[in-house]
């Protein structure tokens, strides 16, 4: 068949509209089944005993009393797992401590019992003999020689000799000559910025339900961003064959990167294996905060030079990120992304990956980027304001464009940064008047976006309706976008397609729902699967008409003769072709398997007005506008939702949220009362402006949008608060006491 892939701008019929999401009714009626909503006959309750110490050697664990408690069916410690392959060794260590407990809340042992009450009782009967060790939770403290060291022998060859063993890696990026650039500047700002660790704060705690037979076959129901990842990781840890472990993704109650690894799942499988019964495990909120992955706390030095006209002559940043108790903080992505919005002759960043006695950092929406953007965009703002320049004009003057050599190396193709800045400058928000104690801030942000392994299977039913099976949990409306793209490509109505999230037994490997990849990569695979089905349907029509299959084309949900020479036949609709599929060769399907590459980078500009109460230091967000490039917005409502949600998570990070550790290394605010995420009454409406600069790497031009929206808000709000309070804020969160202290120190 002839498929038109010409470059002319495409007219869409369904993409770009706002239909109801297919899982809507399930989600507004309580029918949707999330991680903790599943039950199984004979199910046990699993619970985890957690370390009360930040750093301790585990000298002895005695589980005998717990094991003999009536109703206890299995007790698991690290010994049960034995040796695991290297690539999952740190994950194993995090799921269940080995020789040492490395943070407050680290899992030490687990039980499965006939009721939650018995399980709780059993935990109290487990005796653990700890040798408490000195600990360190602050990134700068952990880097000092003489700091308590978590691991021996983990330092990379990239770290200069003589540094603390907690310093795991060093990497340097950039180009040009910083010193030469700084000499051309009329002014140089040099500051240190700090950000606190924050948690993704998904409302649904981690939960799973495991069964595991002596035959090596297992089943797992789990809330996760990637059930294929869960399968592969658990199989490696438990020594199972991947094909024998079937993982089904529940509905997922938020993830934001925090559900891209495993915490409970291998333990639940081991408890199920030992007890011979299904085991359900659900974390409490305090367990989520103490023992799953927050993001890094950071300490960042920035030095930027600018001419009085506003041209940046050199940009330097040294970033120190603690990633919790194991290597792998997202510092490199911070170091690579921080200056990415700008076209700079001289730019250099240095990233340090540091371990501390905190839970292992997990990915959090654009991992590593918001903190770097906070530091760099704050310094740019300070320079612009110091010269009395318009901060948007300064960003436009220095902004990256097609052909710019980026701060992390590659030359940009067509990108949307300047479009977001121009849109911001033209928006009424930019010129709206401000009152007393009010300030306005702007900032830019960048994110890479990802693709990765993806499988989609699209089946035509006998009545000509369509089912799409994909392997990525729907975390924010992706069933709707897949359904729309399939319907668009096939030329049939939206309600003729249903998309399901298939279990790991039904499709090949799928990368986790992360990196803003799903609408891009799964969308691409869905479109290609639909094209394969169209080709097959054209072939069937060609057979029926007895003409050459190249003489058939697909348009508006039907096969048609491609031209006047092909013959005169009335179009055959998808329903007509499907009805006779058994007579023309069998069921019709299309599928596509790909490692999607070529996800387009994404940029945003945020603008925010705040009012700071000079008496209390409290900040109120008055107005907020997001300008972001979406490539092509498939379902604009959910694109807006991503922009709004990212901005508000950023507001929490900027103003309230922080992990507070005591001198004892114990997390002091492991609950939603004291770890305060934004609530409805904290906020105004979040306005959005969607820019559409098509991504050439996607058939419809789609770019990921999920992550970029959390990159600019920290800096935008800091710039606004600094303007309102009349003093430069360099530490997050800008909680009332901190802002008040800054105002008072400034006199």
């Amino acid at each position: 068949m002839a498929l038109d892939d010409s470059k002319k701008p495409r007219e869409f019929k369904i993409v770009g509209t706002r239909p109801d999401r297919p899982d809507g009714i399930d989600k507004v009626t309580g029918r949707a089944r999330f991680g903790a909503d599943m039950v199984a006959p004979g199910m046990l309750t699993g619970r985890i005993l957690r370390s009360p110490h930040a750093h301790a050697r585990i000298k002895r664990i005695d589980t005998s009393k717990a094991e003999s408690l009536p109703g206890v069916k299995a007790v698991v410690t690290r010994v049960d797992f034995g040796a695991v392959p290297d690539h999952v060794a740190d994950i194993m260590d995090n799921c269940m401590a080995g020789e040492k407990a490395l943070y407050d809340g680290h899992a030490i042992a687990a039980v499965a019992a006939i009721s939650p009450a018995v399980a709780r009782h059993a935990l109290k009967l487990i005796e653990v003999d700890y040798e408490v060790l000195p600990h360190v939770t602050d990134v700068d403290e952990a880097m000092k020689p003489g700091a308590p060291v978590l691991h021996e022998g983990r330092q990379e060859e990239t770290v200069p000799k003589g540094m603390s063993g907690n310093v795991i890696a060093r990497a340097e990026f950039g180009h040009g000559d910083i010193e030469a650039g700084l000499k051309q500047a009329d002014r140089v700002v040099e500051r240190t910025y700090r950000t606190a660790a924050t948690h993704q704060g998904y409302i649904e705690p981690h939960a799973c339900l495991a069964t595991m037979g002596a035959d090596g076959q297992g089943d797992l129901w789990v809330c996760t961003q990637g059930h294929y990842m869960v399968r592969n990781t658990c199989a490696a840890i438990l020594g199972l064959e991947q094909g024998q472990l079937r993982v089904t993704a529940s509905e997922i109650g938020g993830g934001f990167g925090g559900k891209t690894t495993v915490f409970l799942e291998p333990v639940a499988l081991m408890l199920a294996k030992k007890s011979g019964r299904p085991v359900k495990m659900v974390m409490s909120r305090s367990e989520v905060l103490r023992a799953t992955g927050p993001t890094s706390s950071t300490s960042i030095d920035v030095k930027i030079g600018m001419t009085k006209e506003g041209r940046i002559t050199a940009g330097f940043a040294e970033l120190r990120y603690q990633g919790g108790a194991w290597p792998g903080s997202p510092v490199n992505m911070g170091a690579m992304s921080g200056f990415a919005p700008y076209d700079l002759e001289n730019v250099k960043t240095v990233g340090w990956d540091v371990v501390t006695n905190r839970p292992k950092a997990a990915a959090y929406r654009a991992p590593g980027a918001p903190m770097a953007a906070f530091a760099i965009e704050s310094a740019i703002d300070e320079l612009a304001k110091g010269f009395g320049l318009d901060p948007l004009a300064v960003r436009l003057m220095n902004g990256a464009d097609e052909g710019t050599k980026s701060s992390y190396g590659p030359t940009y193709p067509a990108i949307g940064l300047k479009a977001t800045l121009e849109a911001a400058r033209k928006h009424p928000h930019w010129t709206a008047p401000l009152g007393k104690n009010q300030g306005r801030g702007v900032a830019c942000g960048f994110w890479f976006n990802f693709g990765g392994d993806t499988c989609v299977s699209l089946n035509i039913t006998p009545d000509g309706t369509v089912t799409v099976s994909e392997g990525n949990p729907d975390i924010g409306g992706s069933r709707a976008s897949m359904t729309m793209m399939a319907a668009e490509e096939l030329g049939i109505p939206y309600d003729q397609v249903r998309t399901i999230i298939a279990d790991t037994g039904s499709l090949g490997q799928n990368e986790v729902t992360d990196g803003s990849r799903v609408t891009f990569a799964v969308g691409l695979a869905t479109i290609e699967a639909a094209r394969a089905a169209k080709r097959e349907m054209c072939r069937r029509a060609a057979m029926i008409w007895d003409i050459d299959e190249d003489a058939v084309e697909w348009e508006d949900g039907a096969a048609r003769p491609a031209g006047p020479n092909a013959g005169k036949f009335p179009p055959m609709t998808i329903k007509e072709i499907a009805a006779v599929a058994s007579n023309t060769g069998g069921p019709i399907a299309g599928h596509h398997e790909v490692t999607a590459e070529g996800a387009g980078v994404s940029f945003a500009t945020h603008m925010v007005d705040v009012e700071v109460d000079p008496e209390t230091g409290a900040t109120k967000i008055l107005r907020y506008t997001v300008f972001q490039d979406a490539g092509k917005a498939v379902h604009p409502s959910y694109v807006e939702g991503q922009f709004q949600g990212g901005a508000v998570q950023g507001i929490g990070w900027a103003l309230n949220e922080e992990y507070i550790y005591g001198e004892d290394g114990i997390l002091q605010n492991a609950g939603f009362l004291d770890y305060r995420i934004p609530v409805a009454s904290d906020l105004p409406m979040i306005d959005t402006v969607i820019l559409e600069i098509p991504n050439p790497g996607h058939p419809y031009g789609v770019r990921g949008v999920g992550e970029t929206s959390i990159v600019p808000p920290l800096a935008a709000i800091a710039n606004a608060v600094s303007a309102a309070a009349g003093v430069r804020m360099t530490q997050l969160p800008m909680s009332p006491p901190r802002v008040l202290a800054a105002i008072q120190a400034d006199g």
Partner: protein, 81 residues
């Protein structure tokens, strides 16, 4: 020959060269060539890298073609949330 741009500190491990040349027409040949010609890069290559080819980022696809004039940049392995 393809020119490959290394990130700053990676250059230290390739005898200080920010740009190295490798005989390669695919991503796999590129990674193999780098490991062969620049043993100092092997630990970083083993930890995993991403590669930008003409402004598009690739993580895994061995047989991605690389032209002699392609802009090739080695990047730290990228990860999303």
């Amino acid at each position: 020959m393809v020119k490959v741009l290394l990130w700053g500190s990676l250059a230290d491990l390739a005898d200080g060269a920010r740009e190295v040349e490798v005989e390669a027409d695919t991503l796999r040949a590129l990674l193999d060539g780098l490991a062969r010609d620049h043993p100092g890069l092997r630990p970083e290559l083993a930890r995993g890298v991403s590669v930008s080819i003409d402004g598009r980022i690739y993580n895994d696809s061995w047989f991605t073609p690389i032209g002699p004039e392609s802009e090739v940049v080695l990047l730290k392995r990228l990860q999303g949330g």
